[in-house]
């Protein structure tokens, strides 16, 4: 041990979408807060590259193949990975993990200030009691210890701060928030929506995505100017990230200490007090160990990293990992099954096009099993579609026959409008899907890493098949031609909606966290990233993580003030 350093009121592990929120809320509520970030610091003006035009990119968007094949074989599979954004994804050689050979899992990870909030998809959807009651209703996993009423005010709180543009629909299973004006559907999407509503009598709705990208200014942040590659950053701060919104708010209190290059590997447990006493890190610049102490610890390191830290924090009191008397740490890993869906040509609108790169698409909210599951489906739970319409450009025609002026003219000419629907399906929380410490494998800093054992179950695969069939059915209903069905489910993890591993629940014998994201067995330890999730719903999860984080932070400060922690 190199040193034991000064005390803080709170330590937050991770500076991503939940770490930034924990820092903001804890600082604003008066706590001197240390944020430990494994990666480097980020300066938007130095590090963001969204305005670099294609012709200034060395490989014109095809990426640095040799470097990527050598160092980022897993991370490259993210939809947000490109020639410039690759710097926001981790190095797979330094950060290994393992899976059974027949069960691939894409562990997509980011290590820098801001974490994945720089490269996230920005789609934000509320859950409803259809989701929070699902486990209880189906007798699967454990019951959520909270309901929609518990989290609704925190959804409001988060949405107001991050800024969400979208359309209110008054759907009971997809509650509305305080939205900025929605982005625009393009002409073909609008027509498809009208035909869809007509054909299905509004039982299947289409709307513009609800997205954490501004259409109106917020303090310090400008509305979107439609440049496109959000995954490379945003110097106008138009989309929400920790770097440009929550961490600055935390810093403005004067109570924030942000420490980059700090890989947290252990939460220290004090058996005498029955509390977490602090966090141990390795400084990646000096390769030295440090320990920081605090009254409360928030794990916001991302679902699987937080699981890893808990499992690496064993002690005589908790031989199987901190707060793991239940044995539930690492169980119930989930991700959304995606890529089910279809696309088709929508005839017409040959004289129309779009201007600007809209960082958003359409949403078709869940329409299956809205009664909870008594209907005739071959599966329980449901899925939603995202997607959009656009004209086919030259990218898809580089292999066309011909050469010379006619060839050039054909490539330049925009092709037909194609409408795509891509599903995100709910995954069930199953204890067979688990992450455990690997017996030997260590990362570049000698920290034991994970063996991740996750596979789709028949329910997810049935959802996948129905996504594809219903997408094709809808496209046919709206007049699409040349419909192409997707046939290959995503690899688990690839949706980058990994969650579970330290689930919330009512019973300390079967869950890790209580209804306040507080470890049942270690009351001053909170886990508020995706690890806390008890089920997965089918909505993009970050909004729920943020709301749970803000709620947990308020509870922690109240409990500290009541001297309960």
């Amino acid at each position: 041990m190199q040193s034991i350093e000064r005390d803080y009121d709170a330590i937050v592990v991770g500076s991503g979408i939940t770490g930034g929120w924990a820092a903001k809320e804890l600082c604003e509520r008066g706590l001197r807060t240390l944020v430990l970030e494994a990666g480097r610091d980020i300066d938007p003006q130095r590090d963001y590259t969204e305005h670099v035009p294609p012709w200034e990119m060395r490989f014109r968007g095809l990426g640095n193949r040799r470097e990527v094949e050598a160092r980022q074989q897993v991370q490259r599979r993210s939809v947000s990975f490109d020639e410039l954004s690759h710097v926001f994804w981790t190095d797979d050689v330094d950060n290994p993990y393992s899976t059974p050979s027949d069960k691939p899992f894409d562990w997509l990870r980011a290590r820098q200030v801001g974490g994945k909030s720089i490269i996230w998809g920005r789609q934000v959807y509320r859950w409803s009691d259809l989701d929070f009651e699902a486990n209880l209703r189906d007798g699967i996993g454990v019951d959520w210890p909270i309901r929609y009423a518990d989290i609704a005010p925190w959804y409001d709180h988060v949405e107001r701060f991050i800024g969400v543009s979208g359309e209110a629909l008054a759907l009971p299973h997809l509650p509305d928030g305080p939205y900025q004006p929605p982005m625009e559907l393009n002409c073909v999407e609008a027509a498809v929506r009208d035909r869809l509503h007509g054909h299905f009598d509004s039982a299947r709705r289409m709307t513009i995505g609800r997205v954490a990208v501004l259409t109106e200014p917020l303090p310090g942040r400008a509305p979107c100017h439609y440049c496109g590659p959000c995954q490379r950053g945003c110097v106008t701060r138009s989309y929400f990230s920790s770097v440009t919104a929550s961490l600055p708010a935390a810093r403005a209190t004067g109570r924030l200490t942000l420490r980059p290059h700090s890989i947290a590997h252990t939460v220290v447990y004090d058996a005498k007090s029955g509390r977490a006493s602090g966090v141990r890190i390795i400084d990646t610049r000096t390769r030295t160990e440090h320990e920081f102490r605090s009254r409360v610890v928030f794990l916001c390191a991302s679902a699987l990293e937080s699981v890893r830290i808990l499992l690496n924090s064993g002690s005589p009191s908790f031989p199987d990992g901190l707060a793991n008397g239940s044995g539930a740490v690492g169980l119930g890993i989930m991700d959304h099954i995606k890529q089910g869906g279809a696309s088709g040509v929508i005839p017409g609108w040959e004289d129309r096009t779009t201007i600007g790169s809209r960082p958003n698409g359409i949403l078709i909210p869940r329409f299956r099993n809205l009664d909870g599951g008594s209907s005739a489906q071959a599966f329980i739970r449901g899925y939603q579609f995202q997607g959009g319409a656009g004209r086919v450009g030259w990218h898809g025609r580089t292999r066309d026959p011909g050469l010379g002026a006619p060839f050039k003219a054909r490539l330049t000419e925009l092709g037909p409008w194609v409408m795509s629907l891509a599903g995100f399906g709910e995954a069930l929380p199953r204890d067979e899907n688990r992450a455990a410490l690997h017996a030997e494998l260590r990362d570049a800093w000698g920290i034991p890493t994970l063996h991740i054992d996750v596979a789709w179950s028949p329910n997810e695969l049935a959802i996948y098949r129905d996504m594809t069939e219903s997408a094709a059915e809808m496209l046919e209903a709206v007049g699409a031609k040349d419909i192409v069905r997707r046939t290959r489910p995503s690899v688990p993890g690839n949706a980058n909606h990994e969650m579970g591993g330290a689930r919330m629940g009512r019973d300390r014998r079967t869950s890790v966290l209580n209804g306040w994201n507080q470890a049942h067995e270690v009351p001053n330890l909170f886990v508020t990233d995706g690890a806390c999730m008890t089920s997965s719903a089918c909505q993009n999860p970050s909004l729920t993580y943020m709301a749970l984080t803000a709620r947990a932070a308020a509870h922690a400060v109240d409990a500290l003030n009541r001297r309960e922690l």
Partner: protein
Amino acid sequence: MTSRREMLRALGGIAALEFVGAFGVEELIAVGRRAHALADLRRSGAPGTSPRALTPAQHEMVVQAAERIIPRTDTPGATDAAVADFIDIMLADWYSPGERERFTTGLSELDARARSLAGGGRSFAQSTERQQIAVLETLDGELQVRRQSGAAGANDHWFATLKHLTVWGYYTSRPGIVEELRVELIPGRYDGNAKY
């Protein structure tokens, strides 16, 4: 009107919370370029000015072949877009040694085909435009036959690579995007129902 100084302050530090404001396209691009230039400085191996994978003679063949595939019309062509320089970078830093070898061997075949043309007898680079087009059309026809017959690796053929890289390099170049496609990269707005 936002001053340059105000803009830099607003964009500069994450601690600043003042309103960023709406900037002009050139200002936004300038910020992105500066960020990229700084990132580039930290990278080794800045692009050279002379070809690295191709000999000067091979480079000239690629210049001419690319121009025949995407010629200058009333808009810029492959030469205006410096497509051959992009292809050289790809061959030097992106493709494997084996793939590079296949490509340069293909250029020798291109020469051989030009020389064997009836009434030809000159290298590809010294052939007339019409002769060059005849050679390339033959190659393109053979490529389409290979693809239609489902031949394995049809897209790995050196001519498929040449054509693919020519198209890719052209439509990602400044003239290709700005003058040919007339795409506004940072329009500052979204119009989902614009006239085409």
